[in-house]
Symmetry: none
Subunit: 188 residues, 4 copies
DNA sequence: GATGAATGAGCTTTCATTCAT
DNA sequence: TATGAATGAAAGCTCATTCAT
């Protein structure tokens, strides 16, 4: 079995986080992944394909991490709290993945249709949670996608600022932020 | 009179938005700005300096746009509403500037100290508004920077998604989002 | 088997001789050496490194050529004559190498310490000859390096003038010049 | 009266000595000479012309310096000694001019016919001295040009090595070198 | 005459991709 | 399958030269 594919994607992610989307070369990826340059092209048609693959695979990973341990039988807030904390935890544990995503989504590689398919495929559970809360009249009467966005997406930029050292957060502040997100989506 | 400097920065912004931070070349910028390649280097020491300048100058512009018409004598919510709508309006009117900023901040060009200075210099008024609301017990008891972040920063990613066509928003939804932001920062 | 490195150095030498130290471009070298531009950079870190390598390798070559067939058991004059004629022969056979050296030594690439090491490493035999003659009281009582300089170095400029067509020399004149060099270093 | 022309030539000389024949730009020359870039082109048709002018004018200067105070009524050796010391003195006082000359003569700018005309025009007196000594049977029976070359030219490379710090010379050694040059050209 | 902003060809160097081994 | 030397287009940047002022 070959773990080369995974090594290559990891190397790309690390390099993009440290050197930026530009400034990462296939040679560097190869060296970092401990494979020959040509080997990359046995797993990916070209650079773009490699970057897309890294993106998709990281998203599927984060999707799993977010819903881990979320118990649909528990109260709505508990589920939300779990989702929020999972997201935070993943982002803090994988700052490279985050850096990568932000740059990817701002890049011309980003493709709306593709992204929608990914969302629907991987984030189904998350969207269903918000859909459900909305149907029960707990959340605002706006698309589930938007609820999810308000509640979780800004964690992305926030964590990035933390990673870069612009903001420092402690448990007390995290609790406040969780509470803020909850209040944001709540119907009144 | 020389508007070349401005033309160059604009061209860079447009190109980054359409082709990504990587994939923008100095030659393209020159062509877009209708100047010779060498001319760029009369205004900026190198590519990095040019990119930094574009970043700083755009931030100063957005800072002015955000606080325009905010009346400190009006009720707190009115001021907030104005700030929020100003931000939204600017972002929608300048999607390129937005795209640029996200990529810049995720890139290795980004420098914490520099950014802090910019924040303090240009966004003083905005931060003061949040500071004031916090002091009066209207907003959560967390740093003003964080209040500002929760309330306004996620507009950035949201507008980006709109621009890319991932989300469609109408006035009714905007009102909901404004309300969500307000509830997020409010003390209870 | 790779003779590319050698082809590249040769091409550089030829081009510098014909177009000058400036006016030689890496592209030209590549074309002349029948390799791609990028290939040069597989063998040399950058232009400067390539130029340095050419210099050192040519010096080691000339050092070997100069002492070829010099028999230490023969009379002093015979040895000197052989050295002098070897030098002359090499320079006439390799006018490009000469042109290159003069320009290299006058350029900012030239580094004293480095040069001293090269001298000591490659021209040991030559210096020893002069040292020996000096010790025996045959040559002037001045540093061997200086004796070598007086006797052989001006052949460099002289041959250059010949190559450029400024001076024309025949065997009779060469004999006179050899004699002049001999008289210059001789103690009286 | 404008001394700009002279300032420009001096600047070029200094820059070439420090940065090499390549690595000197017209912009740098202009800045060094305290004139505008365009101004250079009011005095010289192009870069090549400027470099040629610098060469010719320096040679005329050195020619004057070499024969200064040489008294044709004095004994031959005294005249030679004066010539030799003048040359040495000029070269030591103007290492830049030297550096420049070596590079110029090795460059493609160098032109045989032109050089011959310069020699004949400026170095007439020097050549006549050697011609005369040869006619009187004091010097070797070889062209005056060659006598001059043997006697004085190697001072050029020697001084260059001194300037670069490769060789250290004192008065005692200079006397030896003068003597060596004298013996080299002497008929026996 | 003098200026220096502007030009764009050409420089050194990088890097996505290929292909003989 | 895997390799990595080789490629050459294209990148960032420089600089001899021009020209409107």
């Amino acid at each position: 079995m070959s773990n080369k594919r995974e090594r290559i994607l990891s190397a790309a992610e690390v390099l993009i986080a440290s050197k930026g989307f530009h400034g990462m070369s296939m040679q560097q990826v190869a060296k970092h992944a401990n494979v020959a340059t040509g080997t990359i092209y046995r797993y990916f048609a070209d650079k773009e394909t490699m970057l897309r693959s890294a993106h998709v695979e990281r998203l599927s990973e984060v999707a799993i991490a977010i819903v881990a341990g979320v118990d649909a039988s528990k109260p709505c807030y508990d589920q939300f709290s779990k989702l929020w904390r999972n997201t935070l935890h993943y982002l803090r544990a994988n700052p490279d993945s985050l850096c990568y995503r932000v740059q990817y989504e701002a890049s011309p590689l980003f493709n709306r249709e593709e992204e929608q398919q990914i969302d629907e495929r991987y984030f189904k559970t998350v969207l269903e949670f918000f859909e459900c809360g909305r149907a029960q009249g707990v959340f605002r009467d706006i698309p589930a996608q938007l609820l999810g966005f308000i509640a979780l997406e800004n964690l992305m930029l926030l964590t990035q600022k933390c990673t870069k050292g612009c903001i420092e957060l402690d448990d007390e502040l995290y609790q406040q932020l969780l509470d803020a997100s909850w209040n944001a989506i709540l119907k009144r």
